[in-house]
Amino acid sequence: MYLALFLASSSALLGYLYWNTAGFLTRQSEATVQAETIALVNQLDDGCRAALVLAVITKARDPRQNLYLLEDTNGEKLGGNLDAWPDVAAAEDGWISFEYGRRTVEGEVEIHEAQAVATRLPDNMRLLVGQDIEERRRLEAQITNALAWAVGAMIVLGIVGGAIISRNVVARIDDINRTAKDIMGGELSRRIPVSGAGDEIDQLAENLNDMLDQIERLMSGMRQVTDNIAHDLRSPLNRLRNRLEVTLMKPASQEEYAEALERSISEADELLGTFNALLLIARAEAGAARDGMAWVDLSALAQDAAELYEPVADEAGLTFDVDIEPALEYRGHRELLAQTIANLLDNAIKHAGGDAGGSTIRLSVKSRGMLGAEVIVADNGPGVAIDDRERVLGRFVRLEQSRNTPGSGLGLSLVSAVTRLHGGDLRLEDNRPGLRVVISLARRARRRPSDIAAE
């Protein structure tokens, strides 16, 4: 199919080439002969018969010139370089093809092909103007020959080349299929070989490999999350079970049973809370929450969170500074961002102060122009030592100093996961004293359109 198409198009190309070269030669020589004829006949019109004869004789003397023969009615030669009128009838288009003997420089006679046009003149004369086409024929033959070879070579090359290319393509597609089968068979780390040619198949292979990498990353992330959840829920579940078992071991009063049950329920609630938090972190980490992304009024969101925690801070005797730049919009997940700020405020309130009096927490949200926005929550509590800063972002990490405060150790893990989900950057800094958590949300902040219009 492709071969046929290839042959048809190359034949068309060669045909055009032939028409342009050999055809051009023919057309040019025909035009020359016709022009000569007209020029000679014009001689007759201008003057007299002698001028024509003279012109024919003059022209005929040049050996490179065309062929001429001027005769009168009796067949007597008046001038020209042909010996006799060719006894061949003219073809339909008026051309006479004939052979004649040509004397070479050495005096020998060669038989050459020629082509001529006969013109009947007044006074019963007739004029033959022609051209030796031996050279042309030879050239044409050469061109035809060359083209025929070209066609032959093309067919051979086309078939062989096509076979090689398609064998190559098929082999590479086979590679892809084999790799896919291996991967389906469980060899998840297999990748499609890339030939390095940089062609479409390579691009396909690279894209498929990237896709496989991404899938593997997600899968191993999921596996790690399930492992962690299994590990982290086992011990509290065990505790719960033991409590119930111990309660059953000795007879107790109605009230004691009720109390044990209530404690178990609240422990189960805590477990569920932990479980939900873990799932939320996993979802944020896997990027599954991307569907929920929309333009969010970050300023209002932060304001609401501040308002939610203000009485809590007040109750704890803290000064709560809020500094929120108005009308900042950000493309993100409303729930998760709200929970992130809530978690940070919660942490700050738990850890602020320590030393008596003057304890302060601070929430600020500000634009960084083209760079995005920054959410900062700071407290003046004991802070986090530099060595621990990376560690506290992990799941269930609770520092020794905060063992006695309530909490699951998941708050900052969620903050970290949500920040990453939003393509942001989370930094824990020294607030001298205390902890300063800075979330830089990249690039996607904007001013509310109405505010831009108002400016």
């Binding site: 809370g273 939900n276 939320l280 609401d304 939610l308 809590v312 109750e315 929970q339 809530a342």
Partner: protein
Amino acid sequence: MQHQSIQAMGNDVRVLVVEDDVEAAAYIVKGLRESGHVVDHAADGDDGLNLAMSGQFDVLVIDRMLPKQDGLSVVSSLRDEGRTTPVLFLSALGDVEDRVSGLRAGGDDYLTKPFAFAELLARIEVLVRRASPGEAQQTKMQVGGLEMDLLSRKVMRDGQDIDLQPREFRLLEYLMKHAGQVVTRTMLLENVWEYHFDPQTNVIDVHVSRLRAKIDKNFETPLLHTVRGAGYTLRGPE
């Protein structure tokens, strides 16, 4: 003890529970019956829709994932037929997006599994009350000596002005709208703050105690009560 407010309602509430998980269904049905409700149960979407169509229920509790026909389509069909019986969705899918799709299909409330039974009871009660007739848009509400004017946004108790912050006003408004009913912390968080997550510290308690200080502190009879293991209730003297 924590179910007293529903039992105090006197007239029976008829509840249809559509839930395919046998154990979960048994637990919900038992709990609701013990709280004094009349309960029917369907185990799949088709049965649930047929029963619900009979129109003899005050509230429908429907699981989202059901055999034969999922909960969303059951509720959509009901609403297409013009049935306005309030629907409470139960679902293991707790994302905001899932919640939105449930409410869009015609659900009135959405409770994520696992849930506390007190939470389910409180929400059922709120839904039933909301659906009962004679509850036109009020501009004034009154509980005991406590009055709220929704137009002038003024609150008075026994003739004394009470000054509330905007959020405190919304909190009290919600409590007064559901006076006599138990409202849970989650319900307050969802309806007053529009948050669908669980803050680690009990921030709601702090807000409620602030509100309590303003409306109850200088008065003899308290109106805002804590219901242990469930939430809060605002009610006038018996």
